[in-house]
Symmetry: C2
DNA sequence: ATGAAAGCGCTAACAA
DNA sequence: TTGTTAGCGCTTTCAT
């Protein structure tokens, strides 16, 4: 293994000079520089990231904490983060939290010991203390998708309330009269906001019934259970807005099993815009988030902060878009 | 930040002693040990992973190189690896290669500079030189799912040929007479083997036609295109074995669009056993691999090798299992 | 059983 | 503009 000393010797300069040309943070004579570069070539030198990390406390590594990489929404986010990070010569460590606070805390601790430069949190239970701890350790932080209670850090999210309103209005415009909502976990801000959008749109209309909101845990099986319960107690439901596509897919499955046809009897709309929404039959209408863009933006923002280019914490809200497919269909107004 | 020196001072011993109790690799007096442990408690000390890495060349980090984390097969693999790694106190770096050799080479290089302890390769283009390079750098290697041409390293895979045979035999037993195969990329060993299993089972039967093998690139869109082409030229196909579930899902979509009913007119069987296979309507019969187990086994094997517990490279072939669902159905023999 | 001290490979003052 | 050198925090001989 060739080290910086070998290169220095080869080029007839000191290690400091070699370090300078590598990092390009100090003036080096043109000639010396080219001698050094040549030596680097000749000796096939690659700086050792670990040594560099120990000396500078910067490792060129970021971590992304997400609930579960198997959830297609998060795997797309992860993909975007990794692509962007690699483009900027950063390496990414990934961690599944299952939305469990203890796991998140453990990760934070482990990652601090590794001189991680920054973290992207697409998971929930970050509290003020965690944020301060990380700040104290000089770890930059970007919260993605799920914002923390108090927002003194960079946040990338999309317009959940607005998107939910669009979805429900779409259902209304189709002629749906009794629209239910399959909600995500109450503790998740995204779920809260989508429910809020649903409520804001529908609360004042006649026929509104809070019992039309059922929990679906943001999962396929949750969606199945929710749709079953819903149709059992409210067989006249003619529209369902699910808080994410996974639940919508589950609901579709359940409705099919119960012999309820979509969209003829029930119009169904999801949220997220993941690939699976196109795999069902009928394909799912959904409120699409710019998932890849969210991940890419988060990574860019984080790296900007790490490099000291961006200063203050900023909140970015990305637009969502209704994608009409076969699971919603205009019906005759009664 | 508290360092090993702080702890040593607090406990009234040398840093070497502290290091010894942390690593438990040398005899330390019981009393001294408990004094040190207490000091560690009191001072809330956490060893610095980076410093440790520089001194020992072991970082407690493994990398997993996969084609694309967005592919549900690989995200499940990734999840299994991360769970297992965390359990053993390892951290995982993940890298998407898109099956492009240059990206893989770049990752190998970058990861070497980081004193990675080992890598899990679920990607393709690893050549003998790469393997030797990594060996030279003391990086352990496990190849997952896609074995390299020559196998002088640990390999975890599943029984592709056998699984494909099972699938085709299942189709035959149902009464299918004209069975097509949607194949994965020719350069991938998994795709080759599944095609092999198909051929071995069907080649000698009357009615076999090599034109019934069409490429589907292991992707949804590839499956769509393949099914379209297939039905156009061979409208009397009554069974399709797709090399993976993504292509099967795509084929199902295409068949539906063409008005061909599954399983009434065409029986369809996939391979992998990913979640998406249960989301379609009808649900897909598939040859399920023990995906999570594959990832977990790979991680365990790798960590075993890193710790010097396991010695020689070994090849593990896991069993696959036919999961019968609604996309295949017994038909009347003509 | 324990300590002293020499690195690991690099960065970053501080000098020159 | 360049070199010298003291760390970064830990592991690991080599003594004792």
């Amino acid at each position: 293994m060739t080290t910086i000393r070998d290169v220095a010797r080869q080029a007839g300069v000191s290690v400091a000079t070699v370090s300078r040309v590598i990092n390009g943070n100090s003036y080096v004579n043109k000639d010396t520089e080219s001698r050094v570069r040549e030596a680097i070539q000749v000796m096939d030198y690659e700086p050792n990231t670990v040594a560099r990390g120990l000396a500078s406390k910067k490792t060129g590594t970021i971590a992304v904490i997400l609930p579960d990489i198997m959830n297609p929404f998060f795997s797309e986010l992860a993909r975007a983060v990794e692509d962007t990070a690699r483009h900027h010569k950063f390496t990414v460590i990934f961690c599944n939290s299952d939305d469990q606070a203890p796991k998140e805390k453990l990760y934070i601790q482990v990652l601090q010991q590794r001189y991680i430069d920054g973290m992207i949190f697409a998971s929930n239970t970050l509290d003020e203390e965690d944020i301060q701890t990380m700040r104290g350790h000089g770890i930059s932080l970007v919260v993605l998708d799920r914002a923390p209670r108090r927002g003194n850090c960079s946040i990338i999210r999309s317009k959940n309330v607005e998107g939910a309103k669009t979805a429900v209005q779409h259902l209304l415009s189709l002629g749906c009269r009794k629209i239910a909502h399959i909600a995500g976990p109450e503790e998740l801000i995204t779920a809260q906001e989508r429910k809020q959008g649903y409520l804001d749109t529908i609360r004042h209309l006649k026929g509104f019934d809070p019992a039309l909101i059922v929990p679906g845990h943001f999962s396929i099986s949750g969606g199945i259970g929710a749709a079953q319960a819903l149709l059992e107690y409210h067989p006249d439901v003619d529209g369902i807005f699910a808080g994410n596509d996974l639940m919508a897919a589950g609901a579709l499955k359940a409705l099919h099993r119960m012999g309820v046809s979509v969209p003829e009897q029930v119009s169904l709309c999801g949220f997220d815009g993941v690939a699976i929404a196109e795999m069902t039959e009928p394909e799912l209408t959904t409120v699409a988030q710019p998932i890849y863009e969210m991940g890419a933006t988060a990574a860019k923002r984080l790296i900007g902060r790490i490099r000291g280019e961006t200063e203050e914490p900023s909140v970015t809200e990305l637009d969502v878009q209704l994608v009409e497919r076969d699971s919603t269909k205009r019906r005759v107004r009664r």
